[in-house]
Symmetry: C2
Subunit: 414 residues, 2 copies
């Protein structure tokens, strides 16, 4: 008998049929004798509609009222899910954020979960009742409804699992696990049975949209094992049909590289002939940070003439115009040519095995060179290597790397 948190995203509860299907999954775990808490998102499309209502009244709406409005979608689903479970003869009740309560900071629209006081919920779960919590929401110290940001449902689920000291948090979604890469590009992509928090975190922030980075961070911090699995597939022959995101130590067979990811949400900015003097980087990136623009990959060339240098970095697509505006108005950059390129993609390889094995980056560079792909910028961390390349090569590069690291087959570290 374990304690489990099951989380169903928007497509998994898109309509009554899907809610009943999700209830069947819950019933299976309940039938195994587990104590189950469920976390639900709004029915697919509902939150977008509510956000649209708010925007059409005013783009500058009160974040407290926005939260009061957009949090209602999850309340609907939690009530309907409780009904669907009761129909199957399972005791169940819905919990809205303020009822649990899920105590949040009052940063409306992107609140942090401070504490989930689960004593009432646990008491009822112990008596055999399934708890169905509305995800994405909580209550502020001022007794107002807060939301924890788009995609916050995963974070709600992991936070509840941590508070309940659950044995596992199962995230039901429309894919059946975490893959070595995007199967739409590489049909041979292989589903990973296990992946470490660190790898998942890199993969999430590098563009694999299976789990929200924040929820992975929280799972890692609290040591909650998270399984990503499909709501729509029938599990066959395994207790854990999806991908388990867990501690590095719990993964017996470490892979050198576990995934190839890509992100098209990048734009490249190049500053030609920047004055090469102390403090210049700060004077460029300070104003961008003040403008709330997240600069990612940065390369500074060595100075050829000792007076000027070239500098290249990436910013999110959506922020590029704003970044150019800021740079053009910078007094330090007078006389500097500013170039930009949106047709770039960041391709990355991720794997914990890199920590102890050399040559990973070299394999990457060689594989790309063989296909004639020019690398514009390189950045590395302990467990990933990212390169910026022209976006027209996206599929070619991803396939070449997937093959170069032999990801289509289960490989072992030597």
């Amino acid at each position: 008998m374990a304690r489990l948190v099951l989380k169903f995203g928007g497509t998994s509860v898109a309509g009554i049929t899907e809610i009943e299907n999700a209830a069947a999954k819950v019933a299976t775990e309940d039938g195994r004798g587990h104590k189950v808490a469920v976390v639900v998102s709004a029915m697919a499309g509902v939150t977008n509609q509510l956000v649209e209502y708010c925007r059409s009244i005013s783009p500058l709406h009160d974040a407290r009222e926005y939260d009061a409005v957009v949090s209602t979608g999850e309340n609907v689903t939690s009530g309907l899910m409780a009904m669907a479970l009761q129909k199957r003869g399972i005791q169940a009740r819905s919990w809205q954020g303020w009822q649990v309560p899920v105590m949040c900071s009052d940063m409306h629209g992107k609140a942090r979960i401070l504490e989930i006081r689960t004593s009432d919920m646990e008491e009822r779960m112990e008596s055999g009742e399934v708890a169905v919590m509305a995800g994405f929401q909580g209550v502020s110290p001022r007794n107002r409804v807060t939301t924890i940001g788009r995609g916050g449902g995963d974070t709600s689920a992991v936070a509840l699992a941590a508070a309940l000291k659950a044995d596992r948090c199962d995230i039901y979604t429309d894919v059946d696990g975490v893959y070595t890469t995007d199967p739409r590009i590489v049909p041979q992509a292989r589903k990973l049975s296990k992946v470490s928090y660190e790898e998942m975190l890199e993969m999430s922030s590098l563009g694999a949209k299976v789990l929200q980075s924040r929820s992975v961070e929280m799972a890692m911090k609290h040591g909650v094992p998270v399984q990503v699995l499909s709501t729509f597939a029938e599990p066959v022959g395994s207790d854990l049909p999806g991908t388990l995101v867990t501690k590095e130590e719990d993964i017996m067979e470490q892979q050198l590289v576990n995934g190839v990811t890509y992100s098209k949400d990048e734009a490249k900015v190049t500053l030609v002939k920047v004055p090469d003097k102390p403090g210049i980087a700060a004077s460029i990136f300070g104003p961008l940070a003040d403008g709330n623009i997240n600069v990612d990959m940065i390369v500074q060339n060595t100075s050829a003439d000792g007076k000027t240098t070239d500098m290249t970095f990436t910013v999110p697509h959506a922020d590029m115009q704003k970044a150019l505006e800021i740079l053009k108005n910078s007094p330090e950059l007078k006389g500097t040519e500013i170039r930009n390129d949106e047709k770039v993609v960041k391709v990355s390889v991720v794997g914990i095995g890199m920590r102890s094995h050399a040559g990973v980056a070299q394999t990457m560079f060689r594989a790309l060179a063989e296909k004639g792909i020019n690398i514009q910028v390189i950045s590395t961390s302990e467990i990933k290597v990212s390169v910026l390349i022209s976006s027209e090569y996206t599929e070619l590069a991803v396939r070449a790397l997937h093959s170069a690291y032999g990801l289509e087959k289960h490989q072992k570290l030597a």
Copy 2:
């Protein structure tokens, strides 16, 4: 400077445009220096959709979960209304039932409002903020969301007005007041400027759907003046453009008859040759009451042979089959023929003036006789006379009565 509660029903907040229009009405009252609280319904159609979700999961759903689901529509509107007011530079905030709190009984789906604790709300209203409360909902002693029954928005508004000791409760709807009769039948129908609680109560329960009976009862009990007015018409030349429902004493010019109403929600049941013995009425109506069937008009003929009698009464349309079932299974009615007729309508005239003036019923009977309309059953109260007639005469009867009492022109009591 007065304290006002403004209530907007579903059609008055059907979409963003309508919400902004309603906000303009609130702004007008706020601009006059009044302290304003607003009560809103769900956007038209939303509650029906939510009810449909619940029904499609199970017709026998948990009423607590039903309440959690269907109450969300009002939460959406209250947040959007607060935003729309803020956009006009008016301080405003939304209040969900549990936030006020609106303390309710735990009769889920049809809870009673026990108490509205308005101290927090009043404090903020005094500081110049408009309170926007989600109607139709409250919180139970067990901290669950409750709803107070369909159409409960009016009741929420009047209850809030009573708790705030408001000077008036304005119910904005899609008609511009209470009419002497249905203007779709009688184009000369006249809008009443004032009507008493007692008359309004009779008119509401007799089929005029302008206000919910329960809200009128509550207004009468707490002495809250209620104005019914249109959200869509621009008021011209009057502080009170709608109909004021108020105390009898506050209405200077009493009318003999103030309204002609009709209800098609009636079905007639006739029992032929009922044994004429003591206790027979109790043995008929007891089982119907136990079956939760509301019997309305009752007529018992005098016995011709001293042994049997005929008995006629009405029940709501929806309950007729159930009523027939109960009667057929009654041992006391063996040998009694049971007839039923759904093609009937109850037409009523209502007026406080009846209390002190004779001849009102006579005028009614004569007017109907002149048109050749046969009266099947008659029932009277202190301030109304109702007759049951064949439904094919509905429009003819209503027009004849409207004219017979001279309702198209402003008449004075002699």
